[in-house]
């Protein structure tokens, strides 16, 4: 009977549903990374690329024998940018034997942070979450490898200073930012730097979600700043580009935060965007050994985790960057303390990364117990109509000042 077949199938589905809810036995011998990502809501402009990069890089490493003979297993789940589901995901993967987590969302990273700290697991927190988490002495379990937004802003100022021949006195720097935590974060630092370097800082808050910038750019036209640093996201840059054109602001004096990718360039127009600059912590483009290897050995063999066109995006490089550092940490962990990878050995692994640059993908990274950021180097790149051209060497400027601010903030978290 049709009905019985149907109900039998349903029952089977239900059984599978239930068994999948119970903690699965850890498959023998893999090293697990839990990626609880927002694949459906606010962070979808970056999560698919990063998740794909992590999986591709794992495939590449596994094809060469994995880490010390153990395969890497990348588990990707959706949390829809909701703290509740992020915590669900964390608690579930934790019970499946995952010790290294990545949430790639500021609210969710913040939501799981106390749990990660209490459980003494490892949280990869590159590009999101609290900026002061680079302070390894307080946030012992958190690894925001890469620069903080503070570091990036300081490096931007250093770059602009370089353009003015080392003297910023009397210059005017505009700071256009999304008016919430992400955009506001660097203000305090910029104010300090303005005092120190003698330039004038003009603040241009852009209301969320960043699509209305008309009044901001009218003001900028009146103020005539020498450079505008833009802490905007994705589409915000496209709007800014239109407004720059209308208000006659030169696009080559526009210095974006790292959230500006090939999709945005295409939306601005590859020609129109010539000269636009961005700070970045990973090299853009595909002319990099590791990306070439992935193209040849992973996609060449049809083992890519997603469509190949996703590779041609700086966020893919970002993902490869985050995970080459993570896998390097795991490699060091296995080398130092053997298998299985525990939170302690993974932490030790991370903290012994030294001078690692993934063959030129990013600035040489040295993570220590005190500095979980790995040095915080970035560089400014320029769009030349076809690709991103580096404008300077990897730098980390005003480190002392940044660390002062970081410690001031992290100490508030610690006092309890």
């Amino acid at each position: 009977m049709k009905l019985t077949t149907y109900s039998r199938n349903l029952a089977a589905a239900a059984v599978v549903g239930i068994t999948s809810l119970t903690p699965a036995f850890a498959a023998e011998g893999t090293i697990k990374f839990g990626l609880c990502y927002d694949l459906s809501k606010a962070y979808t402009f970056i999560t698919p690329q990063v998740a794909q990069a992590a999986q591709d890089l794992a495939t590449l490493v596994n094809s060469k024998g994995g880490i010390g003979g153990h395969d890497i297993e990348v588990i990707v789940r959706d949390h829809g940018n909701e703290p509740q589901r992020g915590i669900e995901c964390y608690e579930q993967l934790k019970r499946e034997g995952v010790v290294v987590f990545d949430m790639l969302s500021t609210p969710v990273s913040i939501a799981v942070l106390p749990r990660v700290m209490k459980d003494k697991n490892i949280l990869i927190q590159s590009l999101v979450g609290r900026g002061d988490a680079v302070d390894g002495s307080v946030f012992t379990q958190i690894f925001p490898v890469g620069p903080t937004y503070l570091g990036q802003a300081a490096n931007d100022i250093a770059y602009i200073k370089e353009q003015f021949g080392g003297d910023m006195a009397g210059k005017k720097i505009g700071f256009a930012y999304l008016d919430y935590a992400f955009g506001q974060e660097p203000i305090h630092l910029l104010e300090t730097l303005a005092e120190k370097e003698g330039f004038e800082l003009a603040l241009y808050p852009v209301p969320l979600p960043g699509s209305d910038q008309a009044s901001v750019w009218t003001k900028i036209r009146r103020d005539k700043p020498d450079y505008v640093m833009a802490w905007l996201l994705a589409g915000g840059h496209v709007v800014a580009a239109k407004e720059m054109k209308r208000n006659g602001f030169p696009i080559d004096k526009y210095l974006s935060v790292n959230w500006l990718n090939e999709v945005d360039i295409a939306n601005i127009g590859a020609e129109a965007a010539i000269g636009i600059k961005r700070g970045t912590n990973v090299a853009g483009g595909q002319d990099l050994p590791i990306i070439q290897k992935i193209i040849a050995e992973v996609y060449g063999n049809g083992k890519g985790a997603g469509p190949e066109e996703k590779i041609y995006d700086v966020y893919y490089n970002t993902g490869v960057g985050i995970y080459s550092a993570a896998f390097e940490a795991a490699r060091l962990a296995v080398e130092q303390s053997g298998y299985p990878v525990t939170p302690e050995s993974m932490k030790a692994g991370y903290e012994s990364i030294s001078g690692f640059d993934a063959n030129g993908l990013f600035a040489p990274l040295t993570v220590t117990a005190a500095d979980h950021g790995g040095g915080g180097k970035t560089r400014v790149e320029m769009w030349d109509g076809k690709t991103w051209v580096p404008q300077q060497e990897w730098t980390a400027a005003y480190s002392d000042l940044i660390w002062e601010l970081v410690r001031e903030s992290s100490s508030k978290f610690a006092t309890e």
Partner: protein, 357 residues
């Protein structure tokens, strides 16, 4: 099940005003309560800690919003903002060294004060205008939180909550935290059940249904609306504080942003305005369904061997979950609580249902 109303007689007004008049209901509640108390020994810690505990806390929140929206009939789109006031005041109080019992009370009271202050201005308008005014209040609170480092602890901020303790006893175990959430949820539920049999509850319903008729009975609608806002805000404040103390372990502005207000309102509407059991169901559906649908769907996709990209896999359950909500509301626009009541009423008088019609 067979004519469950038979044999229900009362010989005093006290027994006539019992919480649950039908023995079958009473037994069901006792069994549920026992399951609730035994849950830490029955349910694996994963589900206890990341599903049941937040569900109970959000249910308390939904009941609080249902009080002002379902009972007193005042649309409120700034509920999360009120929760934030309670959460931040309580956490600050606890960090200052005040015992948690009092910190929770401080959280509740300060929410109550702020909530009523807003209500004072908001209650000059009605309906959609009131909704917009409360929404504006949410935006004001969002702005205050993101712009006051002293409250939230700086940009990208999170304010750690000190370990939760009651009566000098630190509570950190999964089971302990669960009991805190359960206890609060039961307290709020009892309050709401009492509303069904006191003058306060009647006065609110009167204000909601016909305020001119309420006035002629001596009910001061402005005063009772204000009391509704104050009481609901108190529940919101304590709930926000407990949410932070037992689930998030720190307070961050995004936890109380405008989308959260909308979400709680959605729980109220899906559950049913003015329905207590509906509040439980609404919270469960909105809070837990996305995750469950997601898991069932990926299991199902795995079963029939569907090869999908991770992105599609993430989006399809969202669509299914949205469809589920639409279907529920089409079947019973008055919410899940009403759906339950229909079934219950049917069973209550079965097999004599034709008599009722």
């Amino acid at each position: 099940m067979f004519y469950r109303l038979s044999g229900v007689r009362h010989s005093s007004y006290v027994s006539d005003r019992r919480m649950f008049q039908v023995p079958a209901d009473r037994n069901a509640v006792i069994i549920l309560l026992m399951i609730g108390l035994a849950a830490p020994f029955l349910i694996p810690s994963l589900y206890l800690n990341s599903y049941v505990l937040p569900w109970l806390i959000w249910t308390a929140a939904v009941l609080g919003l249902n009080l002002v929206t379902g009972w007193a009939g005042q649309l409120h789109l700034g509920y999360a903002a009120v929760m934030a006031v309670g959460a931040y005041s309580a956490v600050h109080a606890a960090r200052f060294g005040i015992p948690w019992e009092f910190a929770l009370l401080i959280g509740g009271l300060s929410s109550s004060v702020i909530g009523s202050l807003f209500a004072f201005t908001a209650l000059r308008v009605k309906g959609l205008y009131l909704a917009l005014t409360t929404l504006a209040m949410q935006f004001v609170m969002d702005w205050v939180l993101t712009h006051s480092p002293t409250i939230t602890g700086g940009s990208h901020a999170s304010l750690q909550s000190p370990p939760f303790a009651l009566l000098g006893q630190e509570i950190t175990s999964d089971a302990g935290l669960y009991y805190v959430a359960l206890g609060w949820c039961i307290l709020v539920t009892i309050f709401m059940l009492n509303l069904k049999r006191t003058g306060l509850g009647r006065a609110w319903v009167a204000v909601r249904e016909k305020d001119f008729a309420a006035a002629i009975l001596g009910v001061n609608s402005f005063y009772y609306k204000l009391v509704a806002f104050a009481a609901s805000s108190f529940i919101a404040g304590v709930t926000g504080a407990i949410l932070v103390a037992t689930f998030y372990f720190l307070a961050a502005p995004e936890q109380f942003a405008v989308n959260v207000s909308i979400q709680v309102l959605a729980m109220v509407i899906i559950g049913g305005l003015g329905s207590i059991i509906g509040s439980y169901m609404g919270a469960a559906l909105i809070l837990l369904m996305p995750g469950v649908v997601n898991q069932v769907f990926s299991a199902f996709a795995g079963l029939i061997g569907l090869e999908l990209s991770i992105e599609t896999l993430a989006h399809i359950p969202n669509a299914a979950y949205g469809a589920l909500i639409v279907i529920f509301l089409m079947v019973e626009p008055l919410g899940l609580g009403k759906l339950y009541a229909n079934i219950r009423d049917y069973l209550m008088i079965w097999p004599f249902d034709q008599l009722k019609k």
